[in-house]
Symmetry: C2
Subunit: 464 residues, 2 copies
């Protein structure tokens, strides 16, 4: 774009959105060009901060006319570089278009604007006796629009599903500024194509999500957290089957491989260590119950543990007796200590549940075969097939992490898994999309992209 | 298409699919051109019965080349005319491509072919200790491919969701014969666009579903069924809130308005009538539990009923003491007696839960204002916002039912509802799609349709 065109576009945007709504040059704060836990990248052409749907629509129509790339931004907590803009692109930050428009207690729904912070929404629905099905670590910064655009997964997917599963209605703005949506509140609605599904998880490449209707869950009264040791992977699978059948309010089913447990217990100062590190699996199970009688729920959980012990499925077990103790078990599982490993590369993949341990063994051996001094740790939300891997090399190969990525993802491909369980593709995993999706699928994605965004202005270079 | 072209296409199809796979002319049985409970319509050009994915792909590629419309067919139990073909179109019946390919007990998934009858699948997964989340009245005839193509709802949507919610992976064949899919088994997979969502519920207009991976639920041990009277609609809503909170295994929450209850109890020979008809609501609640201890579950249900009675939310209540008694309560709710009403028109709509009774009152009054002798009955799956309406006129207006449709759907539009909760649009509701969806949404549906099926051969004239 010529300098004249750029000036004309910025003038038009400033006039439409006001000084609060269009920020350019040195006025752009680093938060708009810095990914979570990383160094700032280049400053975008401008940051647009629309305060209404009409603003979003006009901003997109203008950028569309000028053919300028638009990068939608939420809370900047993504881990795949999906919200970073180039120097010749504008950022569209939804932060000013926030707030809850309605909580419909009879329908059990909340209508919310894209810029609303997840935690704000969680608190608001709790105040009226409901619970939001979505929760993730970044709750204090991430925004609902970003959660939906990336189809966030999080901590409770086995209980309430992923972000997609919370959505009943959705409004989005297309590349040319057309507002499309759908603030539907009904669980059943088969009147034509379910267009909202296209926008959810498409990382802002097909439209910009502006509002959503989310379903609400009944209030949760108490949580019950247990850590136990499991002698082998087959009993882990059997425990998953039994947990689903006997503890219908299970909300987390998290597995730690011995290498992870050993490293975290050895490197977390002040951590309460329930069991000495051994060659076993460490399983954390949490139930979050709508039953107000916490004692009944705890007793049922204990009865299950007793039964599982009798059946030889578990060895040691500790059921947290207090919130503090539960938090301590979670601190172990979260394993922040691994962040200190040199040149750590984190992976977020998914695999068919039965094959996860086979994959782990193969991955560990293959990494050690290639880099004998590698340190690898494995853990994950096994109940929803999600595995996290930490890989640390004393020194990275000349290609940076790409060679490690290629090795890990090739094994994921072989195992019929996905190179991205919950973090999305963004910019970081674009090279590996075809490890999980077939050429016909990628062609069809391109067909969709061309149909909805023929000028290619929406989040260019992301996902595809 | 010229006669020569037709002959050439049929020759090519016969050669590719064999005599079992391509049936034409008088050999076509009436089941391929007769909708459920209706008279046969015109015989299609041919019925294709592919026995493999490759067959489906070749059949579509040939029809695409000749520009001939293809109407996918499942069990022919749809209620919107979505599977009826014109005289110049071919039927693509998936019945020969059936069977279960794999049950993965560790992942809790089943991989199934489109032509599999729902009940066959339900039985197969029960035999290995699981339950399918999907169930509907037509289970003995309907096929999984049709269930997914229409996003069937059914009896357990409040517990397990609609058909869409069961699907983890999907394979479909595009208009030109390209096979696209996706037999993903993971709950979390954010590698690119979730293409399966486009095909689910699109009534065969964007692609032909061939296989799917469905998630499985734990085995259900016992069901507990209760019918109670509720003095007003506000307590119905409060009961829905309390039921979700206290009975997390609730599987049905069904409401009958007094006109429905009065008619059905007066016109069903031999029906056991729990309570005399009165000006109250009749609420059927069913819990299907994974807990093997049926007595514990029944006691919990009874305790809730006691509490609700104390709070004045319910009047009379009967908790079925046997399977026979539960069936009798369901027979009442199913209300087959209304089928005998003259010129009966059935509606399947959805509305925000809080507003359903307001809608019912307005609809009843508006119908009676226009046709004083009208008989209308209202009932539905209230927990999932789905209302069914039966309207009977001694004599239909000259336009047939269209005038009644327009009146009912205009009220649905006003109330922010959907003209199709679970039956889809098909041919029957095409004129009313824009009562529920905006012009921008319908434009976007057309954009999608053109992108995926540029020659318009897939289920022409349906949905759009």
């Amino acid at each position: 774009m010529s300098t004249t065109d750029t000036a004309a576009l910025l003038d038009a945007l400033r006039q439409r959105l006001g000084p609060e709504g269009c920020v350019a040059g040195a006025d752009i704060g680093p938060r708009y060009f810095t990914a979570y836990n990383e160094a700032p990248v280049c400053r975008p052409l401008a940051v647009l901060r629309p305060a209404s749907i009409d603003d979003v629509s006009c901003a997109l129509a203008l950028c569309h006319r000028f053919g300028v790339g638009v990068v939608p931004q939420g809370g900047m907590t993504g881990l795949a570089g999906g919200a970073l803009a180039g120097a010749d692109e504008v950022v569209l930050a939804l932060e000013r278009f926030n707030g809850i428009e309605e909580i419909d207690a009879a329908a059990g729904t909340v209508t919310v604007r894209a810029g609303t912070v997840l935690q704000t929404l969680q608190q608001a629905v709790r105040e009226v006796g409901f619970e939001l099905g979505l929760d993730l670590g970044a709750r204090g910064s991430c925004q609902i629009g970003g959660n939906l655009a990336t189809n966030a997964g999080g901590n409770r997917a086995i209980r309430f599903g992923v972000a997609r599963d919370q959505v009943l209605g959705l409004e989005a703005v297309l590349a040319d500024g057309t507002v499309v949506g759908g603030l539907n509140k009904m669980l059943k609605n088969n009147a034509g194509y379910d267009l909202k599904q296209m926008f959810i998880g498409s990382e802002g490449t097909l439209g910009v999500i502006t509002r959503a209707v989310l379903r609400l869950q009944p209030k949760l009264h108490s949580t019950h957290t247990c850590l136990c040791t499991v002698p082998d992977y087959a009993p882990v699978i059997e425990l998953w089957r039994r947990t689903r059948a006997s503890l219908s309010d299970v909300s987390s089913f998290e597995l730690m491989w011995p290498d992870f447990y050993r490293y975290v217990t050895a490197h977390t100062p002040g951590l309460e260590i329930p069991f000495a590190a051994d060659e076993v699996f460490y399983l954390l199970i949490e139930c979050a119950t709508t039953n107000p009688d916490a004692e009944v729920c705890a007793a049922r959980f204990e009865a299950c543990l007793g039964e599982w012990f009798e059946a030889g499925l578990i060895g040691d077990a500790v059921l947290a007796g207090s919130t503090r103790q539960a938090e301590s078990l979670w601190r172990l599982r979260e394993g922040l200590a691994i962040d200190a490993l040199p040149n750590l590369i984190n992976y977020d993949v998914s695999l068919p549940i039965g094959g996860i341990d086979g994959f782990v063994q193969q991955c560990r051996a293959t990494l050690a075969g290639r880099w004998p001094a590698v340190q690898s740790v494995f853990f994950g939300h096994i109940g929803d097939s999600n595995l996290h891997i930490g890989v640390s090399l004393a020194e990275l190969p000349p290609s940076g992490g790409h060679e490690v990525d290629a090795l890990v993802y090739a094994l994921v491909r072989e195992a019929g898994g996905s190179v991205s369980a919950e973090h999305g593709i963004g910019r970081a995993k674009r090279d590996f999309l075809d490890y999980t999706r077939s050429p016909a699928e990628i062609d069809l994605m391109r067909t969709l992209k061309s149909a909805l965004d023929p000028r290619g202005i929406l989040n260019p270079g992301k996902l595809l």
